[in-house]
Symmetry: C2
Subunit: 405 residues, 2 copies
Amino acid sequence: MINVAVLGYGTVGSGVYEVLVKNKESIAKRVGDEINVKYVLDLRDFPGDPVQEVLVHDFDTIVNDPEVDIVAEAMGGLEPAYTFAKKTLESGKSYCTSNKELVAKYGPELLELAKSKGKNFLFEASVGGGIPIIRPLNQSLTADELTEITGILNGTTNFILSKMAKEGSSFDAVLKEAQNLGYAERNPAADVEGYDACRKIAILSSLAYGCHVDFEDIYTEGITKITDIDFKYAKKLGLSIKLFGKSKKVDDKCYAMVAPFMIDSDNPLYSVNGVLNGILVKGDVIGDVMFYGAGAGKLPTASAVVADIVDEAKHLHTNIMTIWSNKKLALENLSTLKNKFFVRFDGSVDSKMSEVTKAFGDVKVVTVEGLDNEFAVITEVMTEAEFEAAAAKVNGVKSRIRVEA
Amino acid sequence: MINVAVLGYGTVGSGVYEVLVKNKESIAKRVGDEINVKYVLDLRDFPGDPVQEVLVHDFDTIVNDPEVDIVAEAMGGLEPAYTFAKKTLESGKSYCTSNKELVAKYGPELLELAKSKGKNFLFEASVGGGIPIIRPLNQSLTADELTEITGILNGTTNFILSKMAKEGSSFDAVLKEAQNLGYAERNPAADVEGYDACRKIAILSSLAYGCHVDFEDIYTEGITKITDIDFKYAKKLGLSIKLFGKSKKVDDKCYAMVAPFMIDSDNPLYSVNGVLNGILVKGDVIGDVMFYGAGAGKLPTASAVVADIVDEAKHLHTNIMTIWSNKKLALENLSTLKNKFFVRFDGSVDSKMSEVTKAFGDVKVVTVEGLDNEFAVITEVMTEAEFEAAAAKVNGVKSRIRVEA
């Protein structure tokens, strides 16, 4: 019997407990041993819930119990998670977590600590919810030099953008609806400003390129400036607008960003709608592979945490190598990164096009019936710096969105 | 240094050699040791190719060399692959393969043999080419009871169907084009009759449900009866036609089949076009996850073989558990399986509908301009047996395609 403690009995933590009970038999078959939840840690009590029997309020009970082999954390936030993770690993137990803040900030340190103890620190659920992505990056795409990752990594913003695309509603209206449905927080900044996606692309990029990508270095632009008008143009163009966490290696340079992109229907991420996530990985041998599924939610996220528990139970005394060195990967300034751009302008095509062409060169003009005294263009591929320089030369630039070239 | 032998220097085998040379450094970093190709086995010679230096014509040279740790096979076919696999494992080396015939027929036996020797038998490349699917099934989706797998598992037929959909061409014309492009064999039966997809869904189902699904038990219907006329109806309905390998568990019953299905744009497999593959897996906890990428081709397939080599190199003395028992899973007769059906009839709607409704109950009628004296319907959900009984009652049933309900 392998004893597990679950930290936190919120949405994900209660899901982990539920899955370990529900699929006890098939999980035991896969592990080759029974998984027993010996403790659940929460400050609250849950009278009437069977969890009450194993509920404890003090982390020390867990870390000091030599019978506990694996600690699964589903609390979120840096503290006390970081302290708990360190104490767990130091005491010779394995740790797994759905906590992306913890992993983005302390991933390499905790991996190193786990390795030094011959234990494991796993975090499949920290990116893409239930979608297997961390383990495939680590164990499946090992023949490849990975060159690019593009992900729809945040379900809340994808829900909002999908709804805006489908219904033509404004950002504010859809955000309110998402909040009422429980898909968005009362304070939605972590999602809509792109901070959540930023931590996730930092984790994926670190694993893909084998160096530490610091999330604080990543240029991050959310979706709060995307309007229903942008979607009118997108519809006319047959494009969709998605919030991407994106990183790529060009020669020896590495770029990373979070920003909305317009993409066409040839992109496999085009049809990833609603709260779903999709992650497209490019390798020098394998080409493009995509992983798709529920990026959040109680049970899908719990599924990934439990998969980590199973993996740790199968490797109680063997460190599963994870390549994520402490060596920091210096990100390039975006100014040399190339994209097409969708740009909206005040004024009429007739009055403005010579000015626009002079600044931007060849562009594709888009007008939408009913949108008077404005128009948009899609530029050729240019660097961010070239775009900024060109945009500064024309009066009345209303907004711009990058277009996947 | 870990020594590897590659069996077969055809398309995939030469890709494996190329990748091991090209990405030598990054692969060594992941393994923690250098991978050296000590032998390549082929009956032919390749004068001028650097492979000539390590080329051997006799398998015994490889199996009798105690320095060889891992044998990677990319020859295809049951023999001599089966003999080579057995001898390799018996001699205490690990074996990996892209050979779906071998895996579908001898998978459980070779896994058992590998386990008894503390070595590994891996076969990521046997399904879905480069797409990570075997390892995720085995190591990532471990929290779930898997209930359903639906895959576009054959690139050739998906290329043909995608082209027919896009261009309105006939099956024969597109098949000829695919043959000229090298996407289809001169004798295309293995692809177009569904035999290839059949072996692949047998392998995936065996791993997902933990029992042996015998490919010979699987009802298999190819795409040779799909016509340009079917696509005219599909277009009118906004549906696409895909060849699915499909299995599902309903209560304690397991169904498996290979057949063309009509699906709508809500299905994530809808936009998997051309030679690409997509595999949708449903679990009781995780919901739907999809894996997507190049299902064939020299380098993608080589990427998966090399990933197996890396995994075996990291587990030289540890068997990685794979749940695929010898216990045969008895498949249900399809007669109780439920689908909607698309059915084409001779004659006019006016003259025939009362007869059709009497036999099939409520249906949705579809007519296409320019198609005279025929029409089609989509039925409600019914069992295969109910469908057969109904179809026998109406004269002039021209064809039928299952519709994903």
